[in-house]
């Protein structure tokens, strides 16, 4: 489903060239170990979810203003539904490459390029210039990740204990959802409290959200619109805004909104349809219990979509979804000679209802709902690398609310920054 820009070999050539230059500069000088420095992600408590895009490990060479990084994730999958399995598969899910540059002390550039499922889908997920006027006022423009919920901006595989991304993030919201646009963001601190905000105007959705092969109101279908980095589908900007508050001892909570007109209502001065809106509200949270080290993260999303009354009820006008991850470290010690290796037990709960409401004709509840539980074991030889063993059991009801189709998956894989 992820198609961001044209799938041409050009991005590959560009990245290859940069990597070559980067490597050449290193080799011409001294030994690599002394030249290349790893800048770890900031694990301090002053970070908010909105900082995730820069809060990644990077490799830098001496005083060069360019830093590189990325992550790779791959896994095996054994899945079965109602006694029928397609057998065992190996999946190379993502190769993501980050490149950042400090143009000036207060002007930064960062890009994130993703190769998904090999070279099947190649996209620029983020490529923005950040200009700081004040900690509370920064400008960002380019291809940005809309700050709806938390996962959309904080989706790097190595940060999560689960192979699959949360359903609410990728099957209700369109993570990773990025668009061309501009906006501002900032943070302010007081004691243990941190307050952050973001507000952007970008290109947005299109008719695909109610006209797609998922046969449901499906915001991720808008990602099929490859031209959204080139022009708006309807000339109406999508507003995305978020406010987050964090207490260093308690945790962070964010409230975000995204909305605008999604459909092409006129062209060449001709009226094609009424203006129809999509509105999304999300609440996200994360906390670490100090006594037990238990990490809890989650996201609750509601969407409202103006679907024409003369259209089919398969396309719902209200949706909701939630995910909650609970991660409990059970061992943190030297394991296999890895210092500070961590073994975690974790569990995820997923729930998505794509069509809230009742049928007009029968007043019966509309189905189109999914829920799943995923117990997991994860092993982190270092904080930047994770091996994950997940078992996912899923129930999914069709539109008519018939008995759920049950499926189960075993997934084993790794995800690592490099």
């Amino acid at each position: 489903m992820k198609i961001f820009t044209s799938i041409s070999p050009r991005p590959i050539r560009v990245v290859s060239g940069l990597l070559f230059l980067f490597a050449s500069a290193s080799i011409q000088a001294q030994g690599l170990d002394t030249l290349i420095q790893r800048v770890s992600a900031d694990t301090s408590t002053s970070m908010l979810n909105m900082d995730a895009v820069y809060n990644r490990p990077f490799l830098t060479v001496e005083k060069m203003p360019v830093a590189l990084g990325g992550y790779l994730e791959a896994n095996t999958l054994y899945q079965s539904e109602a006694g029928v399995s397609e057998g065992l598969s190996f999946q190379a899910r993502r190769l993501t490459i980050f490149m950042s540059a400090s143009i000036n002390k207060r002007i930064k550039f960062l890009s994130e390029m993703e190769f998904e499922d090999g070279t099947k889908e190649i996209g620029i997920e983020f490529a923005a210039l950040d200009v700081s006027f004040h900690p509370a006022l920064n400008f960002r423009g380019g291809i940005i990740m809309n700050p709806i919920g938390a996962f959309n901006q904080n989706h790097d595989g190595p940060k999560w204990e689960f192979v699959e991304r949360p359903d609410v993030a990728v099957n209700l919201l369109p993570a990773t959802w990025s668009n061309a646009g501009f906006g501002v963001y900032g943070k302010t601190y007081k004691g243990d409290w941190i307050l952050g905000y973001e507000a952007y105007l970008t290109n947005g959705f299109n008719n695909n959200i109610i006209d797609n092969e998922a046969s449901k109101t499906f915001l991720p279908a808008a990602k099929e619109n490859e031209r959204r980095f080139e022009e708006s589908s309807n000339g109406q900007p999508l507003l995305t805004g978020k406010v987050s508050i964090k207490n260093r001892k308690i945790g962070e909570i964010g409230l975000s909104y995204m909305g605008g007109v999604y459909n092409k209502f006129e062209e060449d001065g001709l009226t094609l349809d009424e203006k129809r809106r999509v509105d999304v509200v999300a609440i996200d949270w994360n906390t670490t219990m100090q006594k037990t080290g238990t990490y809890i993260v989650g996201e609750l999303v509601y969407t409202w979509v103006d679907v024409p009354s003369t259209y089919t009820q398969q396309f719902g006008s209200k949706q909701k979804g939630v995910f909650i991850d609970v991660v409990q470290p059970i061992l943190k010690k030297s394991i296999f000679d890895w210092d500070n290796a961590t073994l975690n037990l974790a569990a995820r709960f997923d729930y998505v209802d794509w069509n809230l409401g009742t049928f007009k004709e029968t007043n019966a509840d509309i189905g189109d709902v999914l829920w799943a539980i995923t117990p997991a074991i994860s092993f982190r030889p270092s904080s930047q690398t994770v091996f994950r063993l997940n078992y996912r059991y899923q129930w999914q009801k069709d539109l008519l609310n018939n008995a759920p189709a049950k499926s189960a998956s075993w997934l084993f894989g790794f995800s690592s920054y490099f």
Binding site: G83, T310, T362
Partner: protein, 396 residues
């Protein structure tokens, strides 16, 4: 080192337990869908292609949906290959006698009551009679298609010669240009014995399928090239191969399998079914003739239908008809799979042609006309006998 053994043990256990920890397959007789037994590998490949086209192929605006339509895929009306739910109702209008549909110029016979954004759906024209129809189950259609015309004619008794009050008659109808008559087909005054659809007006599964693409989804094909909205001929929006795949899929769907056949209550109910004359129209057993699909050829099967038209009385007469059926006449629907209907309809029954009956008993009590006597037979049964009959019907 101390971690290696436990780690390998866990991995070995998980490899062994993959299949143990995944959902088990349901019993074959609990499912409506699935292929016929005995298909060759080539036929299974064809079945799979048709399955994908029928259940997974969703039409979008870009792929030709509408602009006016009823639904956007075959599977959305026939969930799990079962009967439909009233949330997608097929409304037909414009014909109230055997002189044909007089509202073809105004969008008849099917009402496309949905529209893509920016368009308005159809409305029933003033003065047009109409009837709401639920999508039928599509399982076992290949068997019904392979019954010879002669067998169906042998079951008919249009003048009620035997005096039992039941006078099933074949639906002699015109066929479309693209439909090829069956081998050994029998004609009457240039008309052919049609057997599909609630009024039995469709001759075969190609007729039914190509028409459904066109009238239900607004999809044009080489078979049905006219767009229902504009009335103009358009380029095909579904290719001939896909239509043929769907037809083949429908033919190769298995017949619903009965359950609990050794249950004494079910056995008793089966006897009652015949005693009160339900079986006079809902013929328990038919026989297929020749079929190019070997698994369908020369088989006895148990659909509980005679595929003939019967007058069902004024309560089921909506004032609308198709072909040469009368408005009160309906083709006997097969009862196989009846007990599984609710599983595909959202958990509760919607029976009879428009789903008005919410239980099997309600459906029986709504019978009239030629079935009046059978209905009375049911009403006069003792409560235990009624339960036995209902258990039998649920076992189908």
């Amino acid at each position: 080192m101390k971690y290696i053994f436990p780690l390998l043990s866990i991995l070995m256990f998980l490899l062994q337990s993959c299949e143990l920890t995944t959902p088990a397959a349901p019993q074959e007789n609990e499912l409506l869908d699935g292929p016929l037994e005995g298909l060759s590998m080539e036929q299974q490949t064809q079945f799979l292609r048709g399955d994908i086209a029928f259940n997974d192929d969703i039409f979008t605006v870009e792929k030709g949906l509408g602009p006016i339509f009823v639904s956007n895929s075959c599977g959305s009306c026939h969930a799990g290959d079962g009967k439909g739910n009233p949330f997608i109702t097929f409304t037909r209008f414009g014909q109230n006698d055997t002189t044909g549909n007089h509202f073809l110029e105004q969008g008849g016979p099917q009402l496309q009551h949905k529209a893509i954004p920016g368009y308005q759906p159809e409305r029933i024209p003033s003065g047009a009679s109409s009837s709401d129809l639920l999508a039928p189950a599509v399982t076992g259609l290949g068997f019904l298609d392979a019954v010879s015309d002669a067998d169906l004619i042998a079951l008919s008794d249009p003048d009620d010669v035997d005096g039992d009050g039941i006078s099933g008659r074949p639906h002699w109808n015109n066929i479309r240009d693209y439909v090829a008559p069956r081998p050994n087909t029998i004609t009457k005054n240039g008309k052919y014995l049609s057997r599909f659809g609630k009024k039995g007006a469709a001759y075969d599964l190609l007729d039914q399928t190509a028409n459904a693409y066109n009238q239900d989804m607004g999809i044009t094909s080489l078979f049905e090239p006219l767009d229902p909205y504009s009335g103009l001929e358009e380029d095909p929006e579904v290719n001939t191969q896909t239509v043929n795949d769907v037809v083949t899929y429908l033919k190769m769907l298995k017949a619903p399998l009965p359950r609990n056949q050794d249950d004494t209550q079910v056995k008793a109910g089966k006897l009652i079914f015949s005693q009160i004359q339900c079986a006079a129209c809902h013929t328990p057993t038919l026989q297929t003739g020749h079929s190019p699909i070997e698994a369908l050829a020369n088989q006895a099967f148990h659909p509980y239908t005679d595929l003939l038209l019967h007058d069902m009385g004024p309560e089921l007469d909506d004032g609308y008809t198709e072909g040469y059926a009368l408005t009160a006449e309906w083709k006997t629907p097969p009862l196989w799979g009846l007990g599984l209907s609710a599983d595909a309809q959202g958990g509760s029954y919607f029976l009879l042609h428009d789903g008005r009956a919410r239980s099997i008993e309600e459906a029986i009590l709504m019978h009239g006309g030629e079935a009046e006597q059978a209905k009375q037979g049911y009403v006069e049964l003792a409560e235990t006998e009624k339960q036995q009959l209902l258990k039998f019907l649920e076992s189908l």
